[in-house]
Amino acid sequence: MGALVYALTALLGAGAAAAGVAGMLGARWALRIDWLVPLGGLELQMDALAGLFVALVGAGAVPVSLYAIGYAGRERRGALAYAVFVAAMLVVPLAANVMTFVLAWELMSLASYVLVLDGARAGREAAASAYAGWVYALMTHAGLACLLAGMLLLTAWTGSPRFADWTAAAPTFGVGARSLVWALLALGFAAKAGGVPLHVWLPLAHPAAPSHVSALMSGVMIKLGVYGLLRASLAWLAPAVPWWGAALLLVGAVSAVVGVLYAIVDRDLKRLLAFSSIDNVGIVLVGTGAALTFAAADLPGLALLALAAAFYHIVNHAAFKSLLFMAAGSVLHGAGTRDMEALGGLIKRQPWTAACFLVGAVAIAGLPPLNGFVSEWLTFQALLQNVLIPQPASNLVFALGIAGLALAAGLAVACFVKAFGITFLALPRSETAASAHEAPVIMRVAMVATAAACAALALGASWVVPALAAVAATLIPGPPPVTVGAWRTLEVSGDFATLSVPAVALALGAGILLPFVALVALRARPRPRRYETWSCGRLLQTARMEYTAIAFADPFTRVFDFFYRPVKRLDIDMHPESRFFVRRIRYENPTRFIVDDWLYAPLGRALRAVARRTAIVQSGSPNLYVAYVLAALLVLLLVA
């Protein structure tokens, strides 16, 4: 039953991907059914931007749905919600009026909320799942409230719920009015995208959901927040006001650094990946913000470059993050835990999963020759050209963005050394990890296909990037920012920067083979002797001697202690007869979340205080309630 639904969803995804690519290449169509939905009817419209995101959702859903057949195919639970989730995500980019958009958006949120609660219903980590679902519902609806406020303001001003009418009328509004609406919409969309400080739901909800759903939530759903930001800034409220771009750029840089800093200290494999999604959304937001700033400074070529880089990173992140979540799901499936301190040595028990995770890790760490490197490179090339904007304040924002992105890139390398090294290498740290089993064939097929997509997106950069730049050009008209030279070399802004990914891949392959061949030719390859790990003459090696996830992150906890504010708790349990016999030592050094401590905790307290005050009116006496109704009626009559 479940398997059938997943197979049908994969078909739906494949069809949508084809339709989306057709839309990117210029197919335009519109669909309007007035009677289906009140207040304006169902209205869909395909254009290049919508095509890109439909293709993204569709192409992402294909391998993930196949994976789900192996992961959860025998359970009926969750299959329908999953199908609704995918379908709703396909409608969001196509929606052409408020009602259609809000319905699809809310359906997407509710379906994913149901899937987040899966753990609670199945009795696994019930409390954690319920809490995650609660925070997710709260944040997503706070975001929806902001979106609705912004959209209703626009509807009131233009007298039309259709997006096309907003685009036509936007230039007639004042800067203040547009900025107000933009701020409301940006809050709503950034909450969905996971921009700091609105990211709090993401590290809770993504690990709680089943792994195939996590893959889609991190790989695809949060990108729809970016879609909304782009639509609002470049169509509904165009032309962009300069501070919008600067704000997005700063939020992006902060998200990138904060996301990866939390990822690096986490010991839960899936939560680490969820935090890393905040980092990657940050990179995308930096590209988007740069595009808006360049567009406002009348540099359309650079705006296109930055936007194409953001699109490229969106596509790449969808590929490697869904790959990583699928591999993490395979670890959970095979070893029964996602706590890295209980994992280890899985490369021997799960060679396929390990190889796929490694590909994803190299890609997300931004290392050549895979796709994460190429899109980060492109983003940097766009940022580095900010000198053409003649305002020192803008240049400063860009310099901060560059430094933040560079720090995030370096930390991401460390983070994924930890994620792969602790989970898959050395000795297993628990019984379950030692007896882990490899994923079923269909899950492996899905992972290998996604890993191949990561390589193809990098090697085919000279085809993908110009196509994405063409999509960007439908939003910001301008000259093509990237040309393709000999050896499929990407040439950015003339000769500002060049890169040929196939040549790098070829050179790397040759460079790796060369020492090997040379050693064979020199006959300098005596057979290695197998022995145990050297460790200062101790008698036997156990997993307790390995470096742990927490220990690996310790240099970062120390260097950034102003950020983590770790709390040290040392608890020594001594023998009652003599304090020289220690029975148990318990050491805890948890990091804290300053956004929670400084923003949400006071906010929650204030909300509760207000709620207590207003609770006075709720006395429980029916007579008083009747009096309220009477008073309300009188007031209404007086006002009318």
Partner: protein, 312 residues
Amino acid sequence: MDVVLLAVLQAAVVALGAPLMVGTLRTLKARLVGHRGPVPWQPFLDLRKLLAKTPVVSDTTSWIFRATPYVLAGAMLVAALATPLLTSRPPLAFAGIILLMSLFLLGTFFLALAGLDAGSAFGGMGSSREVAVAALAEPTVMLAVFALALRANTTNLGGIVERVSAEPQLAINPAHLLAFVAFFIVMLAETGRLPVDNPATHLELTMIHEAMVLEYSGRHLALVEWASAMKLLVFLSLLANLFFPWGVPAGITPLAMLGGLLALGAKLVVLAGALALLETAIAKLRLFRVPELLAGSFALGVLSVSAVFLLR
């Protein structure tokens, strides 16, 4: 065809020059403290010895451990082909500095994994520290690149060399000099030199790089040592040719490249002398003081970028 010849030549220069460079550095350091020291070509003898030995591989390790030396050497060879050494048009002429730094990070990534693979605390400790230093050095590199790219209007390595040689006054610009110092500190951190790491020590608890490669032996160790030497050579050549691009020919005629090789050799000897002097004069920093040093170099990078904007 020219490109292939140039690639072979440049790879040979780096492959053979790197051990010689490390040997020269050791000899210079020994002489500075009054020892006779080994001969400059000692690293070649060490490599030959290591290649003849049977490597010992731990039972705990996986294919990652055995593949890493090759990946590392491969990444450093590609880095060597991407650097303007003998001419301003290296074999991989499209390469920019971001590619080069990412290649180094690729090597660090796999080496750090190999450090964890044997399951000993030493390897894990080395890996954790190595990636911490590499991650913290990254923003400085990007800011120094930014300062250079702002002046040259390109991030292409060959392009920067050509632009600075065409306008020699750029080389004495404050932004350029600040970027040089920032980059020099990053070089010390990335190649594991004093005061960040001591390449001569084998005391497990203080070292970074040596702890990470503790499990390697035989040909694997030979490859790792050779790759580390290549990284040092590429970094020093980068400092020499990007910041002082005198005598780097634009053409690839045999005579021009011979001139380029001699100029590079002279600059490297000067830089190696400076490095030997520095390493003799200062002590290793405590591990958790290293971030302060890197923060200092980051501040220099910020100053360098601001100087470009102020002086434009």
